[in-house]
Amino acid sequence: MTDMSQDYNFAYLDEQTKRMIRRALLKAVAIPGYQVPFASREMPMPYGWGTGGVQVTAACLTPEDRLKVIDQGADDTTNAVSIRKFFERTADVAVTEATSEASIIQTRHRIPEQALSEEQILVYQVPIPEPLRFLEPRESETRKMHALEEYGLMHVKLYEDIAKNGHIATAFAYPVKVEGRYVMDPSPIPKFDNPKMDDCPALQLFGAGREQRIYAVPPFTKVVSLDFEDHPFEAGRAAHDCALCGAGDSYLDEVIIDDEGGRMFVCSDTDHCRTRREAGHTGALGVPEAFA
C-alpha cells in the first residue's frame, strides 16, 4: 500500500503557498490593521464560503492543533461543517465545538462569547476587506487614504447614517481604528462583538479570498469603534434573555418556532448556550441540558 501522506499536502496547500501566506501574516501582524495583498489560491470551495479564512487557517495549522469552525456562531451549519470536515480530511487535526478547547477558531460573522486566551488564534472569513469602499470605489484612492491616514470619509458614512436614521444604524461590519492608526473593517460581525476585539489576548487574523487581502490584530491591541462625540458607539443588543439558557448578556438570534409566527430569542453562539445549560442555567422555554 502506498503512503497517502506523500500524495497530499498537510492542510491541502503546498508548502510554498503556505510560506507565502505566512509571510503575509507576519507583515499583517507587524502593521496592525493594514491590508496585506497575497496571492490567493483556488480552493476546492466557492468564494463566499470562506476561502480567505481557509487559506489563513491552513497556513497556521499544525498537527497538534484543535480546530473549531463556526458560522454565525453555530458549529453545525453547512458552511462550518464542510470547512471542519475539509481540515479533518486534509490535515487530520482534532476538532472541537468547545471554544475553550480550541487552539484555532475559524469564524464567519461572530466572535465567541467566551473570552479568548493567549493560546488561541481567531481566523475571520472576510468578504470585503476595504472599509472605505462604500464611498470611494477607486482602489488607488483608498490605498492613498490609508497611507496618508485620511479617514474623514469614514465619518461621512456615519454622518449619513445619523442623518437618515437619527442614530448610527450600522449594525454589522462596524468600522474600527486599530492601535490608533489604520481603519479596519472587522468583517460582518455584529457591532455587539466589536468590544471583544479590543485588548484581546488571542491573535486575530483576517482573510479575504476573492479580494486577496490579509490583515491582523495582534494580541492586546487597541481596537476602537468609530463614532461622534454626541453619538457615541453603543454595542447594542436585543432586549431579551436567551429563551434556552437565560443569558442576559449574549448576542441573540431570533428564531421562528411554529407556524403561527411564534418566535424566541436564543444565543447565536451555540457552544456558549449549551455550556450554560450544562451548568444548570435555564431560560423561559428551555430545559437543562441534562434532561433534554
Binding site: G152, L153, V156, Y159, E160, I162, A163
Partner: protein, 256 residues
C-alpha cells in the same frame, strides 16, 4: 506685502505637445485673476498644475502658507499638499460630478471637509453644513437630499459650499458657469462675486467666457497655444487689447 502665490516658468508637456509653457505670474491676497483663451489654449492644464492635481515638468509654485510662510508646493510632501488642498485651498470643477459625492447627502458633502480635518461632533457639523447651504441659497430642507436630485445650478452651488466650509484663502475655478443656462449662470456669478467679496477670497478663474471675467476678475491673463500672450487689469485688457489674438478674442470672432 508678499504674494499669496508666486508662479515661475511653469511648463507642462503631454509628450511632444505643449500643455502650458513658461507661465510666470503673481497672485496677491484678495485678488481675483481670470485666465481666458480659446479651447485648447492650456487653461485647464495650467490650473491643474497650480492646484497640485498635475505635476508640471519644470517651474515652481510658491504659496504663502499660514503655518510656514512661502513654500514651493511642487516640492512639498504629498500629505502636506493634500492637506492644503482640503483646508486652505478650494477647487471648483466645471462638472459638479467631479467635485461632489453624488451618493452622499448635501449635508454630508459639505461636512466632509470638516470631518477630514477632525470634526467629530455630529450636531456641530450639521449646523455648519446647514449654515453653508443657506449661504449658497439652498433650502435647509434639502440638507438630506442627494445632489443627483438637484438642478445643475444647485449642484454647482453645493460644490462651492462644500469647498468654502473650511475657510480656504485660495479658490481655483475651472469654467464654473460652463454648461449652465444663461439665467442660471447670471445668478451663480452674482453669488460667487458676493462670496469672494464678503470672504476676502483670492481666486483664479479659468473661463472662455469674457463676460465671466468682466464681472469677477481684477486682472486677466490671455493664453494662446499654452503661453500667456497678454496680461493686465481686466478693464484695460478688454477695452484696449494690445495683442492681435486678444483683439480677435474681444471682437468675439473666436468667441463661439
Amino acid at each position: 506685502m508678499t504674494p499669496l502665490l508666486e508662479v515661475r516658468d511653469l511648463t507642462k508637456r503631454y509628450g511632444p505637445r505643449i500643455g502650458c509653457a513658461d507661465v510666470t505670474f503673481e497672485l496677491w491676497p484678495g485678488e481675483v485673476l481670470g485666465i481666458v483663451g480659446e479651447s485648447g489654449s492650456g487653461k485647464s492644464t495650467l490650473l491643474s498644475c497650480l492646484a497640485g492635481h498635475l505635476a508640471p515638468d519644470t517651474g515652481s509654485v510658491v504659496y504663502d502658507t499660514r503655518a510656514n510662510g512661502a513654500r514651493d508646493t511642487l516640492t512639498m510632501s504629498e500629505p502636506e499638499r493634500r492637506m492644503l488642498g482640503r483646508t486652505d485651498w478650494a477647487f471648483v470643477h466645471q462638472n459638479p460630478r467631479d467635485g461632489l459625492r453624488m451618493n452622499v447627502s448635501a449635508g454630508g458633502n459639505v461636512g466632509e471637509r470638516l470631518m477630514a480635518v477632525g470634526a467629530r461632533h455630529y450636531g456641530n457639523i450639521r449646523a455648519t453644513a446647514s449654515d453653508w447651504l443657506g449661504r449658497v441659497e439652498i433650502a435647509d430642507e434639502r440638507i438630506d437630499d442627494r445632489p443627483s436630485a438637484f438642478s445643475g445650478g444647485m449642484q454647482q452651488r453645493l460644490q462651492i459650499a462644500r469647498n468654502l466650509v473650511t475657510g480656504p484663502r485660495l479658490v481655483f475655478m475651472d469654467e464654473p458657469t460652463g454648461g449652465l443656462d444663461v439665467s442660471v449662470q447670471a445668478r451663480l456669478l452674482d453669488l460667487i462675486r458676493a462670496l469672494v467679496r464678503d470672504l476676502g477670497l483670492s481666486a483664479i478663474i479659468v473661463t472662455h467666457d469674457l463676460a465671466v471675467v468682466r464681472l469677477l476678475a481684477d486682472r486677466l491673463m490671455v493664453m494662446k497655444s499654452g503661453r500667456v500672450v497678454e496680461e493686465g487689469l481686466t478693464d484695460q485688457v478688454l477695452d484696449d487689447p494690445q495683442h492681435a489674438y486678444t483683439q480677435l478674442l474681444v471682437s468675439s470672432v473666436l468667441h463661439v
